[in-house]
Symmetry: C2
Subunit: 211 residues, 2 copies
């Protein structure tokens, strides 16, 4: 049985039901912890599920910040210092990653509050998550205000990547299943993955092969 | 053994290696087929892996288009008609979804070329993918040019949702594992998922519970 909902139906949903419905509608997401630090030295860690690939040359990513949420400290630190880290989440610490979304006071570091370890690289200001297998150091490029709902798109440039050697294939592909990265839907559902296949580059007159 | 790459290393990668590396670095992605139709009646279908949640009220999503790619027909049709559909991908037709990324001529519909079926709703102009379990009808809101690399962010408003009743939970959560939705990394790796858990809303002084 197929259920069909119009915009009018959706706008009439109870508020929390609607948020849960729309948040889980978009498919599986990139689940990362974004690490920052204020100029005065307060570190911050927040979970995000909106990371998207923007380009490989220069290497750039984007993500969404809701300024009225626990994410506002991340935004302030990025605007103040230009520095952030993007850290993949493994099954071993997904509950701690989730817990960073609690509204801790400004002077409490989520690293300490959820028991994850800050790790520093001499070439980068913002703290990495030591427990993460795949770590990205990035630099703020610019922000785009989405007037329709007050969210902000942050565009960042990748400056530093660290990952386990066994996760890197010969053609540059990073095998995130091997690296233990997990995925999520909505704001609270976490999933491990199992590869189906990699497929060859698509050409008009030939079906793709399994690599 | 940990491998570390600086921006300089990454910029010195061979071009295809770099694209594969950076594309797979960002984690698991939302894998969807976007359906459109030109005013003159040519339907188009293209695979995307950059869909992100922008907000629940109003329900909005965003995604990235590379105008120099097979995605340019999608862009033209969206700008011409304002209408698009977003269709989840299942394991049953992931090869066909991948194949839509081949550079077919403008007058060839990927629906026919890859053997997926157009489905129409009387309230929506753009074609849905009949084979998809979860289908979203959406309306163009605006585009944002990313000057740094010539990509375009499309913002769209959700107007219509259709999904199997068994995939919708009592609290509005859509169980995409049940619905058979798959995920991907990079531009060619496809994965099925297995739920670890849903976690309760995070509060500062309490670890989250498994729902």
């Amino acid at each position: 049985m197929i259920k069909k909902f119009t915009l009018e139906n959706i706008l009439n949903f109870e508020q929390r039901y609607r948020a849960t419905f729309i948040n889980s509608l978009g498919g599986f997401k990139s689940l990362v912890l974004i690490g920052t630090k204020s100029k005065s030295g307060n570190s911050n860690l927040a979970v995000f599920n909106s990371l998207f690939h923007l380009g490989a040359h220069p290497p750039m990513v984007g993500f969404i910040i809701r300024p009225d949420s626990a994410e506002r400290h991340t935004l302030n630190n990025i605007l103040e210092t230009g520095s952030l880290t993007i850290n993949h989440v493994s099954e071993e610490f997904y509950k701690q990653a989730h817990q960073t979304s609690a509204r801790y006071p400004n002077d409490v570091s989520e690293f300490g509050a959820v028991n994850l370890s800050e790790e520093y690289d001499e070439e980068h200001f913002a703290p990495f998550v030591q427990e993460s297998e795949v770590k990205i150091g990035a630099e703020f490029v610019r922000k785009i205000n989405v007037e329709e709902n007050g969210t902000i798109i942050i565009i960042a440039k990748i400056k530093l990547v660290s990952l386990p050697e066994y996760g890197l294939m010969k053609d540059g592909f990073i095998d995130l299943e091997k690296a233990g990265t997990i995925t999520c839907t909505g704001v609270d559902a976490y999933y491990r993955v199992k590869k189906i296949a990699r497929l060859s580059y698509a050409k008009p007159n030939k079906l793709p092969d399994i690599l």
